[in-house]
Protein backbone atom coordinates (compact mmCIF):
# COMPACT_ATOMS: atom_id res chain seq x y z
CA UNK A 1 0.00 0.00 0.00
CA UNK A 2 1.35 3.41 -0.91
CA UNK A 3 1.53 6.45 1.38
CA UNK A 4 -1.15 8.52 -0.44
CA UNK A 5 -3.53 5.56 -0.33
CA UNK A 6 -2.88 5.04 3.38
CA UNK A 7 -3.28 8.76 4.08
CA UNK A 8 -6.57 8.91 2.18
CA UNK A 9 -8.11 6.18 4.33
CA UNK A 10 -6.76 7.34 7.68
CA UNK A 11 -9.93 8.84 9.19
CA UNK A 12 -11.91 5.69 8.56
CA UNK A 13 -9.08 3.38 9.54
CA UNK A 14 -8.07 5.22 12.72
CA UNK A 15 -11.40 6.53 14.03
CA UNK A 16 -14.22 4.91 12.05
CA UNK A 17 -15.09 8.31 10.59
CA UNK A 18 -17.29 8.27 7.55
CA UNK A 19 -19.96 10.20 5.74
CA UNK A 20 -23.72 10.31 5.88
CA UNK A 21 -25.91 11.30 2.94
CA UNK A 22 -27.47 14.73 3.55
CA UNK A 23 -30.37 13.80 1.26
CA UNK A 24 -31.44 10.33 2.38
CA UNK A 25 -29.51 9.85 5.62
CA UNK A 26 -27.72 6.66 4.58
CA UNK A 27 -24.25 6.15 6.07
CA UNK A 28 -22.34 3.63 3.99
CA UNK A 29 -19.40 1.61 5.22
CA UNK A 30 -16.90 1.98 3.73
CA UNK A 31 -17.51 5.67 3.01
CA UNK A 32 -18.09 6.45 -0.67
CA UNK A 33 -18.04 9.77 -2.55
CA UNK A 34 -21.53 9.17 -3.89
CA UNK A 35 -24.38 7.83 -1.78
CA UNK A 36 -24.97 4.28 -3.09
CA UNK A 37 -28.63 4.43 -2.01
CA UNK A 38 -29.81 7.67 -3.65
CA UNK A 39 -26.91 8.84 -5.83
CA UNK A 40 -26.40 12.15 -4.05
CA UNK A 41 -22.95 13.73 -3.75
CA UNK A 42 -24.17 15.88 -0.86
CA UNK A 43 -22.49 14.14 2.07
CA UNK A 44 -21.80 15.15 5.69
CA UNK A 45 -19.21 13.89 8.13
CA UNK A 46 -20.43 11.00 10.22
CA UNK A 47 -18.92 9.21 13.17
CA UNK A 48 -19.67 5.49 13.08
CA UNK A 49 -20.38 4.07 16.54
CA UNK A 50 -17.45 2.37 18.25
CA UNK A 51 -19.55 -0.41 19.72
CA UNK A 52 -21.40 -3.35 18.33
CA UNK A 53 -21.83 -7.12 18.44
CA UNK A 54 -20.00 -9.94 16.70
CA UNK A 55 -22.41 -11.70 14.34
CA UNK A 56 -20.08 -14.22 12.65
CA UNK A 57 -16.47 -15.29 13.06
CA UNK A 58 -13.84 -17.79 12.08
CA UNK A 59 -10.32 -18.57 13.24
CA UNK A 60 -7.70 -18.24 10.51
CA UNK A 61 -4.80 -20.72 10.65
CA UNK A 62 -3.26 -19.87 7.28
CA UNK A 63 -3.05 -16.20 6.38
CA UNK A 64 -1.95 -14.32 3.29
CA UNK A 65 1.47 -12.69 3.04
CA UNK A 66 1.87 -10.18 5.86
CA UNK A 67 -0.67 -11.89 8.09
CA UNK A 68 0.84 -15.35 8.01
CA UNK A 69 2.96 -14.72 11.11
CA UNK A 70 -0.08 -13.67 13.16
CA UNK A 71 -1.98 -16.97 12.92
CA UNK A 72 -4.13 -18.13 14.50
CA UNK A 73 -6.27 -14.98 14.53
CA UNK A 74 -9.99 -14.34 14.73
CA UNK A 75 -11.81 -12.50 11.95
CA UNK A 76 -15.50 -11.84 11.82
CA UNK A 77 -18.38 -9.59 10.98
CA UNK A 78 -19.25 -6.85 13.47
CA UNK A 79 -22.63 -5.15 13.51
CA UNK A 80 -22.30 -1.67 14.97
CA UNK A 81 -25.05 -0.15 17.12
CA UNK A 82 -26.35 1.85 14.12
CA UNK A 83 -26.74 -1.36 12.08
CA UNK A 84 -23.59 -0.89 9.96
CA UNK A 85 -21.72 -4.15 9.30
CA UNK A 86 -17.99 -4.50 8.67
CA UNK A 87 -15.27 -7.15 8.62
CA UNK A 88 -12.69 -6.91 11.38
CA UNK A 89 -10.22 -8.87 13.41
CA UNK A 90 -11.24 -9.62 16.98
CA UNK A 91 -8.33 -9.08 19.32
CA UNK A 92 -7.41 -9.30 23.02
CA UNK A 93 -9.18 -12.65 23.43
CA UNK A 94 -8.28 -16.31 23.02
CA UNK A 95 -9.93 -17.78 19.90
CA UNK A 96 -11.70 -20.45 21.97
CA UNK A 97 -13.42 -17.81 24.12
CA UNK A 98 -14.96 -15.92 21.19
CA UNK A 99 -18.76 -16.18 20.98
CA UNK A 100 -21.35 -15.05 18.44
CA UNK A 101 -23.41 -12.19 19.88
CA UNK A 102 -20.52 -10.99 22.01
CA UNK A 103 -20.46 -7.19 22.62
CA UNK A 104 -17.31 -5.72 21.06
CA UNK A 105 -15.71 -2.28 20.82
CA UNK A 106 -13.34 -0.43 18.52
CA UNK A 107 -9.63 -0.38 19.22
CA UNK A 108 -6.76 1.03 17.14
CA UNK A 109 -4.12 -1.60 16.41
CA UNK A 110 -1.21 -2.38 14.16
CA UNK A 111 -2.28 -4.34 11.07
CA UNK A 112 1.12 -5.27 9.67
CA UNK A 113 4.48 -3.93 8.51
CA UNK A 114 5.26 -3.81 4.82
CA UNK A 115 8.83 -5.07 4.80
CA UNK A 116 11.87 -3.15 6.06
CA UNK A 117 11.13 0.03 4.13
CA UNK A 118 7.34 -0.02 3.84
CA UNK A 119 4.82 1.67 6.09
CA UNK A 120 3.63 0.30 9.41
CA UNK A 121 -0.06 -0.06 8.87
CA UNK A 122 -2.55 0.73 11.62
CA UNK A 123 -6.28 0.44 11.65
CA UNK A 124 -9.40 -0.64 13.48
CA UNK A 125 -9.81 -3.96 15.19
CA UNK A 126 -12.50 -4.90 17.70
CA UNK A 127 -12.05 -6.35 21.17
CA UNK A 128 -14.51 -7.68 23.76
CA UNK A 129 -16.30 -4.72 25.30
CA UNK A 130 -14.61 -3.76 28.54
CA UNK A 131 -16.80 -3.78 31.62
CA UNK A 132 -17.95 -0.30 32.61
CA UNK A 133 -16.07 0.91 35.66
Amino acid sequence: MTVPDYWRLKDTRFRLMGVKCAECGHANFPPTVVCPKCGSENLEEYQFPHEGVLTNFTVVYQGNQQYNYQVPYVIGIVELTDGTRLTSQITDIDPEDVKIGMPVEFTLRKYYVEGDEGIIMYGYKFRPKLKEA
Binding site: L9, V60, T87, Y111, G123, K125
Partner: protein, 386 residues
Protein backbone atom coordinates in the same frame (compact mmCIF):
# COMPACT_ATOMS: atom_id res chain seq x y z
CA UNK B 1 -32.55 -15.97 -34.09
CA UNK B 2 -29.02 -17.24 -34.63
CA UNK B 3 -28.38 -20.54 -32.86
CA UNK B 4 -24.91 -20.44 -31.33
CA UNK B 5 -22.99 -23.70 -31.09
CA UNK B 6 -19.74 -24.98 -29.59
CA UNK B 7 -18.08 -26.86 -32.44
CA UNK B 8 -14.67 -27.73 -31.07
CA UNK B 9 -12.61 -27.78 -27.88
CA UNK B 10 -8.98 -28.08 -26.90
CA UNK B 11 -7.17 -28.29 -23.59
CA UNK B 12 -3.80 -28.66 -22.00
CA UNK B 13 -3.48 -30.97 -19.05
CA UNK B 14 -4.01 -28.98 -15.86
CA UNK B 15 -0.88 -29.33 -13.76
CA UNK B 16 2.09 -27.43 -12.36
CA UNK B 17 3.50 -26.98 -15.85
CA UNK B 18 7.01 -25.77 -15.07
CA UNK B 19 8.14 -26.33 -18.66
CA UNK B 20 5.49 -24.03 -20.16
CA UNK B 21 4.83 -20.30 -19.89
CA UNK B 22 1.45 -18.60 -20.16
CA UNK B 23 1.74 -17.97 -23.91
CA UNK B 24 2.56 -21.66 -24.49
CA UNK B 25 -0.51 -22.84 -22.58
CA UNK B 26 -2.82 -20.44 -24.40
CA UNK B 27 -1.35 -21.30 -27.78
CA UNK B 28 -1.55 -25.06 -27.18
CA UNK B 29 -5.20 -24.97 -26.08
CA UNK B 30 -6.28 -22.81 -29.02
CA UNK B 31 -4.31 -24.81 -31.59
CA UNK B 32 -5.78 -28.07 -30.30
CA UNK B 33 -9.31 -26.67 -30.60
CA UNK B 34 -8.60 -25.65 -34.21
CA UNK B 35 -6.88 -28.92 -35.13
CA UNK B 36 -9.60 -31.10 -33.59
CA UNK B 37 -11.90 -30.06 -36.44
CA UNK B 38 -9.20 -29.13 -38.97
CA UNK B 39 -10.21 -25.50 -38.87
CA UNK B 40 -7.75 -22.94 -40.19
CA UNK B 41 -6.89 -20.15 -37.76
CA UNK B 42 -7.47 -17.65 -40.58
CA UNK B 43 -11.18 -18.60 -40.49
CA UNK B 44 -11.55 -17.13 -36.99
CA UNK B 45 -12.92 -13.60 -36.88
CA UNK B 46 -12.60 -12.96 -33.15
CA UNK B 47 -10.70 -14.12 -30.08
CA UNK B 48 -11.75 -13.75 -26.43
CA UNK B 49 -9.20 -14.60 -23.77
CA UNK B 50 -10.12 -15.08 -20.11
CA UNK B 51 -7.29 -14.51 -17.66
CA UNK B 52 -7.14 -13.33 -14.06
CA UNK B 53 -3.65 -12.11 -13.27
CA UNK B 54 -1.01 -12.58 -15.96
CA UNK B 55 0.60 -9.30 -14.87
CA UNK B 56 1.02 -10.33 -11.24
CA UNK B 57 1.79 -14.00 -11.87
CA UNK B 58 4.01 -13.72 -14.95
CA UNK B 59 4.88 -10.02 -15.39
CA UNK B 60 3.10 -9.99 -18.75
CA UNK B 61 0.07 -7.98 -19.70
CA UNK B 62 -2.08 -7.90 -22.87
CA UNK B 63 -2.11 -11.65 -22.80
CA UNK B 64 -4.90 -12.01 -25.38
CA UNK B 65 -3.17 -9.97 -28.07
CA UNK B 66 0.12 -11.72 -27.23
CA UNK B 67 -1.35 -15.18 -27.87
CA UNK B 68 -2.99 -13.95 -31.08
CA UNK B 69 0.23 -12.35 -32.30
CA UNK B 70 2.25 -15.44 -31.43
CA UNK B 71 -0.10 -17.36 -33.72
CA UNK B 72 0.20 -14.72 -36.44
CA UNK B 73 -3.41 -13.60 -36.16
CA UNK B 74 -4.56 -10.02 -36.71
CA UNK B 75 -8.22 -10.42 -35.70
CA UNK B 76 -10.06 -8.48 -32.95
CA UNK B 77 -8.88 -9.70 -29.53
CA UNK B 78 -10.45 -9.05 -26.14
CA UNK B 79 -8.92 -10.02 -22.81
CA UNK B 80 -11.53 -10.51 -20.11
CA UNK B 81 -10.76 -10.34 -16.40
CA UNK B 82 -13.33 -11.42 -13.86
CA UNK B 83 -10.94 -13.15 -11.44
CA UNK B 84 -11.66 -16.89 -11.34
CA UNK B 85 -14.79 -16.30 -13.43
CA UNK B 86 -12.72 -14.83 -16.30
CA UNK B 87 -13.18 -17.99 -18.38
CA UNK B 88 -16.98 -18.00 -18.27
CA UNK B 89 -17.00 -14.25 -18.78
CA UNK B 90 -14.85 -14.55 -21.93
CA UNK B 91 -17.17 -17.34 -23.08
CA UNK B 92 -20.23 -15.15 -22.52
CA UNK B 93 -18.73 -12.21 -24.45
CA UNK B 94 -17.86 -14.55 -27.32
CA UNK B 95 -21.35 -16.05 -27.25
CA UNK B 96 -22.97 -12.60 -27.34
CA UNK B 97 -20.72 -11.54 -30.23
CA UNK B 98 -21.91 -14.48 -32.33
CA UNK B 99 -25.51 -14.24 -31.15
CA UNK B 100 -25.60 -10.58 -32.18
CA UNK B 101 -24.35 -11.44 -35.65
CA UNK B 102 -21.19 -9.39 -35.22
CA UNK B 103 -18.95 -12.45 -35.54
CA UNK B 104 -19.35 -15.79 -37.32
CA UNK B 105 -16.63 -17.99 -35.85
CA UNK B 106 -14.76 -17.07 -32.69
CA UNK B 107 -12.41 -18.72 -30.25
CA UNK B 108 -12.46 -18.49 -26.46
CA UNK B 109 -9.28 -19.23 -24.56
CA UNK B 110 -9.09 -19.43 -20.78
CA UNK B 111 -5.56 -19.50 -19.47
CA UNK B 112 -3.60 -19.05 -16.27
CA UNK B 113 0.04 -19.57 -15.37
CA UNK B 114 0.31 -19.61 -11.59
CA UNK B 115 3.34 -21.63 -10.60
CA UNK B 116 5.96 -19.15 -11.80
CA UNK B 117 4.95 -17.39 -8.60
CA UNK B 118 6.46 -19.49 -5.86
CA UNK B 119 5.19 -19.47 -2.29
CA UNK B 120 1.62 -20.18 -1.31
CA UNK B 121 1.04 -17.10 0.91
CA UNK B 122 2.16 -14.84 -1.96
CA UNK B 123 0.03 -16.66 -4.49
CA UNK B 124 -3.01 -16.60 -2.23
CA UNK B 125 -2.36 -12.92 -1.61
CA UNK B 126 -2.63 -12.19 -5.33
CA UNK B 127 -5.85 -14.20 -5.54
CA UNK B 128 -7.21 -12.35 -2.49
CA UNK B 129 -6.38 -8.98 -4.10
CA UNK B 130 -8.47 -10.09 -7.06
CA UNK B 131 -11.57 -11.22 -5.21
CA UNK B 132 -11.77 -9.39 -1.88
CA UNK B 133 -12.18 -5.69 -1.09
CA UNK B 134 -8.47 -5.09 -0.52
CA UNK B 135 -8.88 -2.03 1.73
CA UNK B 136 -11.84 -3.18 3.81
CA UNK B 137 -11.44 -6.97 3.90
CA UNK B 138 -8.00 -8.10 2.72
CA UNK B 139 -5.96 -5.68 4.79
CA UNK B 140 -8.03 -6.58 7.84
CA UNK B 141 -6.86 -10.19 7.41
CA UNK B 142 -9.80 -11.77 5.60
CA UNK B 143 -8.73 -14.48 3.16
CA UNK B 144 -10.81 -16.23 0.53
CA UNK B 145 -10.76 -19.36 2.70
CA UNK B 146 -11.91 -17.45 5.77
CA UNK B 147 -14.70 -15.76 3.78
CA UNK B 148 -15.91 -19.20 2.74
CA UNK B 149 -15.40 -20.36 6.32
CA UNK B 150 -17.89 -17.73 7.52
CA UNK B 151 -20.35 -19.01 4.92
CA UNK B 152 -19.71 -22.64 5.89
CA UNK B 153 -20.29 -21.85 9.58
CA UNK B 154 -23.59 -20.17 8.79
CA UNK B 155 -24.65 -23.10 6.58
CA UNK B 156 -23.77 -25.46 9.42
CA UNK B 157 -25.80 -23.44 11.91
CA UNK B 158 -28.83 -22.99 9.67
CA UNK B 159 -29.00 -26.39 7.99
CA UNK B 160 -26.78 -28.69 10.04
CA UNK B 161 -24.35 -29.29 7.17
CA UNK B 162 -21.56 -31.52 8.51
CA UNK B 163 -17.79 -31.76 8.04
CA UNK B 164 -18.32 -35.20 6.48
CA UNK B 165 -20.82 -33.84 3.96
CA UNK B 166 -18.38 -31.14 2.88
CA UNK B 167 -15.50 -33.61 2.75
CA UNK B 168 -17.64 -35.84 0.51
CA UNK B 169 -17.58 -33.09 -2.15
CA UNK B 170 -13.79 -33.39 -2.35
CA UNK B 171 -13.86 -37.21 -2.23
CA UNK B 172 -16.46 -37.35 -5.02
CA UNK B 173 -14.62 -34.87 -7.21
CA UNK B 174 -11.40 -36.86 -6.90
CA UNK B 175 -13.33 -39.97 -8.00
CA UNK B 176 -14.14 -38.05 -11.18
CA UNK B 177 -10.69 -36.53 -11.59
CA UNK B 178 -9.24 -40.04 -11.48
CA UNK B 179 -10.88 -40.82 -14.84
CA UNK B 180 -10.21 -37.45 -16.49
CA UNK B 181 -6.99 -37.41 -18.54
CA UNK B 182 -6.82 -33.58 -18.30
CA UNK B 183 -7.09 -33.59 -14.50
CA UNK B 184 -4.37 -32.25 -12.25
CA UNK B 185 -5.17 -34.79 -9.51
CA UNK B 186 -5.94 -38.32 -10.63
CA UNK B 187 -5.74 -39.92 -7.21
CA UNK B 188 -8.58 -41.00 -4.97
CA UNK B 189 -8.99 -39.10 -1.76
CA UNK B 190 -10.12 -40.73 1.48
CA UNK B 191 -12.73 -39.00 3.63
CA UNK B 192 -10.36 -39.40 6.58
CA UNK B 193 -7.55 -37.62 4.70
CA UNK B 194 -9.79 -34.60 4.12
CA UNK B 195 -11.06 -34.53 7.69
CA UNK B 196 -7.56 -34.82 9.15
CA UNK B 197 -5.85 -32.36 6.82
CA UNK B 198 -4.50 -29.11 8.19
CA UNK B 199 -7.11 -26.59 9.24
CA UNK B 200 -7.00 -23.40 7.12
CA UNK B 201 -9.90 -21.38 8.52
CA UNK B 202 -12.31 -23.00 10.93
CA UNK B 203 -14.11 -25.24 9.85
CA UNK B 204 -12.42 -25.54 6.43
CA UNK B 205 -9.45 -27.83 5.93
CA UNK B 206 -6.68 -27.86 3.35
CA UNK B 207 -8.07 -30.74 1.30
CA UNK B 208 -11.40 -28.94 0.93
CA UNK B 209 -9.67 -26.29 -1.17
CA UNK B 210 -8.74 -26.35 -4.83
CA UNK B 211 -4.98 -26.19 -5.40
CA UNK B 212 -2.66 -23.99 -7.44
CA UNK B 213 -2.12 -25.12 -11.01
CA UNK B 214 -1.54 -24.00 -14.58
CA UNK B 215 -3.51 -24.68 -17.70
CA UNK B 216 -5.26 -23.55 -20.83
CA UNK B 217 -8.64 -24.45 -22.28
CA UNK B 218 -10.21 -23.34 -25.54
CA UNK B 219 -13.54 -23.66 -27.33
CA UNK B 220 -14.73 -22.50 -30.72
CA UNK B 221 -18.13 -20.87 -31.10
CA UNK B 222 -20.05 -20.22 -34.28
CA UNK B 223 -23.51 -19.70 -35.65
CA UNK B 224 -25.01 -23.07 -36.53
CA UNK B 225 -24.99 -22.17 -40.21
CA UNK B 226 -21.23 -21.54 -40.22
CA UNK B 227 -20.49 -24.53 -37.96
CA UNK B 228 -22.16 -26.90 -40.43
CA UNK B 229 -19.48 -26.01 -42.97
CA UNK B 230 -16.95 -27.70 -40.71
CA UNK B 231 -18.70 -30.42 -38.75
CA UNK B 232 -21.95 -32.11 -37.71
CA UNK B 233 -20.59 -32.62 -34.22
CA UNK B 234 -21.51 -29.66 -32.04
CA UNK B 235 -23.61 -28.64 -29.02
CA UNK B 236 -26.01 -25.73 -28.66
CA UNK B 237 -25.60 -22.84 -26.24
CA UNK B 238 -29.20 -22.40 -25.07
CA UNK B 239 -28.82 -19.74 -22.42
CA UNK B 240 -26.30 -17.35 -20.88
CA UNK B 241 -27.05 -15.76 -17.53
CA UNK B 242 -25.03 -13.54 -15.25
CA UNK B 243 -25.79 -11.72 -12.01
CA UNK B 244 -23.93 -10.01 -9.19
CA UNK B 245 -24.34 -9.49 -5.45
CA UNK B 246 -22.72 -7.40 -2.69
CA UNK B 247 -18.93 -7.45 -3.01
CA UNK B 248 -18.10 -7.48 0.69
CA UNK B 249 -19.24 -10.48 2.66
CA UNK B 250 -20.29 -8.17 5.52
CA UNK B 251 -22.89 -6.58 3.20
CA UNK B 252 -24.67 -9.84 2.48
CA UNK B 253 -27.88 -10.45 4.37
CA UNK B 254 -27.79 -14.25 4.15
CA UNK B 255 -24.39 -15.92 4.02
CA UNK B 256 -25.93 -19.28 3.14
CA UNK B 257 -27.37 -18.17 -0.19
CA UNK B 258 -25.43 -17.50 -3.39
CA UNK B 259 -27.92 -14.97 -4.69
CA UNK B 260 -25.89 -14.12 -7.80
CA UNK B 261 -25.85 -17.80 -8.81
CA UNK B 262 -29.58 -18.06 -8.25
CA UNK B 263 -30.32 -15.00 -10.40
CA UNK B 264 -27.88 -15.98 -13.15
CA UNK B 265 -29.47 -19.44 -13.26
CA UNK B 266 -33.02 -18.08 -13.47
CA UNK B 267 -31.88 -15.86 -16.32
CA UNK B 268 -30.15 -18.68 -18.23
CA UNK B 269 -32.92 -21.24 -17.58
CA UNK B 270 -35.48 -18.73 -18.84
CA UNK B 271 -33.62 -18.23 -22.13
CA UNK B 272 -33.28 -22.00 -22.56
CA UNK B 273 -36.89 -22.62 -21.45
CA UNK B 274 -35.80 -25.30 -18.99
CA UNK B 275 -36.28 -26.03 -15.31
CA UNK B 276 -33.70 -27.53 -12.96
CA UNK B 277 -35.34 -30.96 -13.25
CA UNK B 278 -34.43 -31.09 -16.95
CA UNK B 279 -30.69 -30.82 -16.26
CA UNK B 280 -28.65 -34.01 -16.66
CA UNK B 281 -25.32 -32.78 -15.33
CA UNK B 282 -23.66 -29.65 -14.01
CA UNK B 283 -20.12 -28.31 -13.86
CA UNK B 284 -19.95 -25.91 -10.92
CA UNK B 285 -17.43 -23.73 -9.10
CA UNK B 286 -16.13 -25.89 -6.24
CA UNK B 287 -13.14 -23.72 -5.30
CA UNK B 288 -13.97 -24.80 -1.75
CA UNK B 289 -16.25 -27.73 -0.77
CA UNK B 290 -18.92 -25.47 0.71
CA UNK B 291 -19.03 -23.55 -2.56
CA UNK B 292 -20.25 -26.63 -4.45
CA UNK B 293 -22.87 -27.32 -1.77
CA UNK B 294 -24.19 -23.76 -1.84
CA UNK B 295 -24.00 -23.56 -5.63
CA UNK B 296 -26.09 -26.66 -6.32
CA UNK B 297 -28.71 -25.23 -3.97
CA UNK B 298 -28.68 -21.83 -5.73
CA UNK B 299 -28.93 -23.56 -9.11
CA UNK B 300 -32.10 -25.29 -7.91
CA UNK B 301 -30.58 -28.75 -8.45
CA UNK B 302 -31.39 -29.47 -4.80
CA UNK B 303 -33.53 -27.58 -2.28
CA UNK B 304 -31.97 -24.83 -0.14
CA UNK B 305 -30.14 -26.48 2.76
CA UNK B 306 -30.06 -29.92 1.14
CA UNK B 307 -26.72 -29.56 -0.66
CA UNK B 308 -24.91 -31.40 2.10
CA UNK B 309 -27.32 -34.31 2.43
CA UNK B 310 -27.62 -34.66 -1.37
CA UNK B 311 -23.85 -34.98 -1.58
CA UNK B 312 -23.74 -37.46 1.30
CA UNK B 313 -26.45 -39.59 -0.34
CA UNK B 314 -24.39 -39.78 -3.53
CA UNK B 315 -26.90 -37.87 -5.64
CA UNK B 316 -24.11 -35.75 -7.18
CA UNK B 317 -21.87 -38.72 -8.07
CA UNK B 318 -21.61 -39.90 -11.67
CA UNK B 319 -24.28 -42.55 -11.03
CA UNK B 320 -26.47 -40.20 -8.98
CA UNK B 321 -29.60 -38.42 -10.19
CA UNK B 322 -27.77 -35.10 -10.71
CA UNK B 323 -24.06 -35.63 -11.47
CA UNK B 324 -21.98 -32.59 -10.48
CA UNK B 325 -18.44 -31.90 -11.63
CA UNK B 326 -17.92 -35.07 -13.67
CA UNK B 327 -14.60 -33.50 -14.75
CA UNK B 328 -13.33 -33.54 -11.18
CA UNK B 329 -14.19 -29.87 -10.73
CA UNK B 330 -11.78 -27.24 -9.52
CA UNK B 331 -10.75 -29.63 -6.76
CA UNK B 332 -9.41 -32.48 -8.91
CA UNK B 333 -9.40 -31.39 -12.55
CA UNK B 334 -7.68 -28.24 -11.35
CA UNK B 335 -8.31 -24.54 -10.91
CA UNK B 336 -6.04 -22.33 -13.04
CA UNK B 337 -8.22 -19.29 -12.41
CA UNK B 338 -8.90 -17.88 -15.89
CA UNK B 339 -9.08 -21.34 -17.49
CA UNK B 340 -11.76 -22.77 -15.20
CA UNK B 341 -14.88 -21.46 -16.92
CA UNK B 342 -13.71 -22.62 -20.34
CA UNK B 343 -12.62 -26.05 -19.08
CA UNK B 344 -16.16 -26.49 -17.72
CA UNK B 345 -17.50 -26.03 -21.26
CA UNK B 346 -14.98 -28.57 -22.57
CA UNK B 347 -16.36 -31.15 -20.12
CA UNK B 348 -19.97 -30.43 -21.02
CA UNK B 349 -19.14 -30.64 -24.74
CA UNK B 350 -17.64 -34.12 -24.30
CA UNK B 351 -20.53 -35.28 -22.13
CA UNK B 352 -23.26 -34.09 -24.50
CA UNK B 353 -21.52 -35.57 -27.54
CA UNK B 354 -21.01 -38.88 -25.73
CA UNK B 355 -17.22 -38.79 -25.99
CA UNK B 356 -16.40 -38.41 -22.28
CA UNK B 357 -15.01 -41.94 -21.97
CA UNK B 358 -15.01 -43.35 -18.44
CA UNK B 359 -16.73 -40.21 -17.16
CA UNK B 360 -19.65 -40.49 -19.57
CA UNK B 361 -23.12 -39.84 -18.18
CA UNK B 362 -25.42 -41.96 -20.36
CA UNK B 363 -27.87 -40.08 -22.59
CA UNK B 364 -26.92 -36.64 -21.31
CA UNK B 365 -28.91 -34.07 -23.27
CA UNK B 366 -28.96 -30.89 -21.19
CA UNK B 367 -26.03 -29.64 -19.12
CA UNK B 368 -25.08 -26.45 -17.33
CA UNK B 369 -21.88 -24.72 -16.31
CA UNK B 370 -21.55 -22.33 -13.36
CA UNK B 371 -18.47 -20.20 -12.69
CA UNK B 372 -18.20 -17.46 -10.06
CA UNK B 373 -15.67 -14.90 -8.92
CA UNK B 374 -14.39 -15.27 -5.37
CA UNK B 375 -17.32 -16.00 -3.07
CA UNK B 376 -19.85 -15.20 -5.79
CA UNK B 377 -19.73 -11.42 -6.21
CA UNK B 378 -20.57 -12.13 -9.83
CA UNK B 379 -21.64 -15.48 -11.28
CA UNK B 380 -22.26 -16.90 -14.72
CA UNK B 381 -24.49 -19.79 -15.72
CA UNK B 382 -24.66 -21.32 -19.19
CA UNK B 383 -27.10 -23.91 -20.51
CA UNK B 384 -26.09 -26.35 -23.24
CA UNK B 385 -27.98 -28.99 -25.16
CA UNK B 386 -27.08 -31.64 -27.65
Amino acid sequence: MTQVVVLSTGMTKFTDAYEFGIRDLGMQALTRALNNKSINKSDLDGLFVGNMSSQAFTEQGLIGPLIAADLGMDIPVTTVNLADASGASAFRQAYLSVKSGQHDLVAVVGVEKVTDMLGLPLLQGIYAMNVLDRRYEGQQGLTLASAYALMAQEHQRKYGTTHEQRAMVAVKNHMNGKVNPYAQFRNLLKMETVLKSKIVADPLRLFEMSAAGDGGAAVLLASEKIAKQYTDEYIYVKGSGQASMPFRISDRNDLTELLSVKKAAQNAYGQAAIEPKHIHLAEVHDSVTISEIMTIEALGLVKPGEGGTATEEGRTKRDGDIPVNTSGGLKARGAPFGAVGVAQVVEVYEQLLGIAGDRQIPDAEIAITENHAGTGVTSLVHVFSR
